[in-house]
Amino acid sequence: MNENPLPSIIPDKEWKKIQRMLSKRSLWMIHFCTGCGAMEMPPVMTSRYDMERFGIIPMATPRQADLLLVTGYVATKTLKRIVRVYEQMQDPKYVIAFGSCPINGGIYWDSYNIIKRLDKYIPVDMYIAGCMPRPEAIMDAFLKLMKDIDEGKANGWMRYRKYYDQYRRNQMRIFKRWDE
């Protein structure tokens, strides 16, 4: 996100601003339903709410996606795939966590297979309360994320780079092996 093609004409700081302004308008979302909150994604994705109005479209490959939606609870087996998908995504990338479960475990607070706080393993830019959140709340979260990106506040991906060792240490407490 830092390569400035025209360093002499536009200063670096201004260039970043332009980049952020443009990237908030075309957030592509990875098509990965990790939990039950994905049930409210069809109304958001299709004709009833139609998130394409905001430039958000579902994308099948992680390489071309900017937005990872963690829809609900995260089982340990899924967490490994989420981390893999997250690491395959290109910077800048953003994470939205849906519902109660990624915040503090939700109704599965005593389950042996559900992680309790998502931000211990990957950085999260936005949380939505609800079980499950209404489509309106999801749309508002998208709008708020776009605003945050414009203001340069949504920088979870920078945090992940900076504290990579800590994130990886936490992840490896859950996984027994990483390379299979």
């Binding site: 004709s47 939700g106 309106e136 979260a141």
Partner: protein, 159 residues
Amino acid sequence: MGVMKPFKALRHLTKHPHTIKYPYQKHTDIEGLELPTERYRGFHSNNLETCIGCQMCSKVCPANAITYVKIENSGKKGLKWRPVIDYGRCCYCGFCTDICPTKSLILTPRYEHISENIDEFKFIPTYQIREKKDKAIHMDEVLFKPEDYVPPKPKEEKS
């Protein structure tokens, strides 16, 4: 004719759009009633005056979401514990409001709380949540400082 079939789709252009243009338009049902209705299970609201601090709501909660804080100047005698609800646990089932003996704890049709900060999802529900008609909850209306607590004015009775 198979050739003409695609052009038949043109008549859909004149139809009323199905999409809710969300930030500008409200969600309505088939008869035009605005949703959510009063029955919707959104965030809690607790009238701290009538709450007696019996702690029944935490015993019936399937998600173990309810803890308590002590309120010193609650303005009356009796139990001083008031529920704190962790929205990182709550599943909005409404069992706590069903069992509440004084019906001070209720669920409101307000449903929206979006934040970047994970610590903002645990708070004391107050009666202000009930009063406002907005769909979103803001931290300034739920942040509760016991020393600033002012009991609500009693409603005027119809004579």
